[in-house]
Symmetry: C2
């Protein structure tokens, strides 16, 4: 029987809480630092008609986290979630997080990844970073499709999505509605980051294909709008940026084996751009896959996290990736 | 270290043998009843330039089968491969087969499936039926894609393929180049069968989605050609059949939850039909996936068998399905 502590009740955390509640998986505690939420019942915050449930509390109030699974939806980077993961492991919990860098944490933080692996193995529990991207579309799905191939020469995958539903924080980090010069400056000073997760996806896909990645190159370029684009949160004038086209290339033995392309912008449809996920595997046989429109990043990440949890609790102890799981699915 | 006995060196078995040899996986024995092949070296028969390897022998000559994995590529139905599977299990081997009914053998032969499961558990080894269809496109891939969904209401999937490369045996079983009346008669007397594997795919996908299937309906109808169609093996005149459209519906709780559509014909392009694999999941979120052209059934089945073997040998002992495997991939 699973019992979950949920750390972080933002947009993703709330979606995860709703899905857990709908599936009848008990939530033992919900932790969040937001004083607006602390002390309020989860049922009231979610408005899902499933009763009050637990009350949101400060992370430090209930140490150690109760239950046997900890789900962390607080940050994107390994160092942010590392102490939170360790709290769960000390308490003997399986840990899942949607922190992008945790999809393949060895890519950015080898030493912290080793610490997590050691602590998880010592406790006999498992840790997983997951999500739609990284975690599914540009890595695990590539790997699974490759099961139909006797040989893979190279992979090209793209994810074209629409940033229109997103609020100011995301739009700022993607460099939306600025001049080309401001975009260049933002890349320089780190306020514009593009997608988080390319090194993770490349290493994760490569691990499934038996490739060692020697080098990764990335490029972020502005998507300049020719038209006026409007969302509830922002207006883009012609000549301003509609978003960021972020690409990455993974090399093995000096050869580019994985190429990923992820243009993110508001209102792509106004300039005739259809959204979608695409994978081309060049090999024996070659394959070409399209999902149109793209798998939604938000609701998809919520689902894949809860669905992966069902497999993670039966996985071998240690720090795991999506590639280590029994094929996850929506067992409702 | 894996060592394989390969039982059956027809078209699929030869592809599997080639891939095993290319990957440096030792083949301990190759068994086939064809007197034309018995006594000849595998290297000579395959012409893959990788040396002679073992000599093909009669199945009964080398009992018990040597090595720790048995791959069976001899027939489509559970009763055909059951004694062969049992020989492998008695010898303590993991067993893989491309027999279509073995993708989910409980669907057609509950008792034999239980026997296989019991024997495999007693020996601490695993058994798997796999292939592209059933085994991947219309079942495991549906399940894996559903990992992005928090709820699945229903599934529609189709596989439109081209029978042109296939020889007389397949064309006859699909009812190609006959009159509509001969097609109806062939369905009646069992010489025209359409696709083998719909109940298996429906149950396998349902097992991943947490559904119990109460009832399956199937329908086979002739694809009448409006044009002359020619392949190296057959000529279809206008008004004759170009193939068989085989459909199936799986019901759970009285509701149709899985619908599969598999029109197979020669030269679909001459009447503007594109081949491809398609999956629509209706749920939260809904997803629509296309692979165009379709994943090739022949080379794909060879690959998925060898790739699945890498995961099967680490699976829990017993009779398994693709849904029980750690995500398979092409680790070359």
């Amino acid at each position: 029987m699973k019992q979950v502590t949920l750390w972080g009740l933002g947009s993703m955390g709330s979606g995860i809480a709703k899905l857990l509640r709908r599936r009848g998986i008990p939530i033992a505690a919900v932790w969040d630092r937001d004083q607006e939420k602390v002390g309020t019942s989860v049922g009231q915050l979610l408005g899902d008609g499933l009763g009050n449930g637990v009350f949101v509390s400060q992370p430090d109030e209930n140490y150690p986290p109760p239950g046997n699974v900890l789900i962390i939806a607080t940050g994107s980077f390994v160092p942010e979630v590392y102490p939170q993961i360790m709290e769960g492991l000390y308490a003997g919990q399986h840990v899942l997080t949607i922190a992008e860098e945790m999809a393949y944490p060895w890519a950015s933080h080898q030493k912290l990844a080793e610490n997590i692996d050691g602590a998880a193995q010592a406790k006999g529990v498992s840790v997983l970073g997951t999500g739609i991207n990284p975690g599914f579309v540009l890595d695990a799905l590539i790997g699974f499709l490759s099961a139909c191939c006797s040989r893979v020469e190279s992979v090209y995958a793209s994810r074209v999505n629409d940033l229109s539903p997103f609020g100011p924080t995301v739009l700022k980090s993607q460099g939306v509605a600025v001049t080309p010069q401001e975009f260049a400056d933002g890349l320089e000073d780190g306020t514009i980051v593009g997608h988080i997760g390319f090194p993770e996806s490349i290493h994760l896909a490569a691990s499934m294909l038996g490739w060692t990645i020697d080098r990764i190159e990335q490029e972020r370029e502005p998507i300049i709008s020719n038209t006026k684009r409007e969302t509830p949160f922002i207006t883009v004038e012609p000549g301003q940026t509609a978003g960021c086209r972020h690409r990455a290339w993974g090399y093995s033995g000096g050869r580019c084996v994985i190429q990923l392309d992820h243009p993110q912008q508001v209102c792509p449809d106004v300039e005739g751009v259809s959204t979608g996920d695409h994978i081309t595997i060049t090999g024996e046989p070659s394959l070409s896959m399209d999902i149109q429109p793209e798998i939604p990043g938000g609701t998809g990440t919520v689902a894949v996290t809860v669905n992966a949890m069902e497999k993670l609790v039966h996985a071998a102890p240690g720090l795991r990736t999506m590639a280590d799981l029994v094929i996850p699915s929506c067992r409702q």
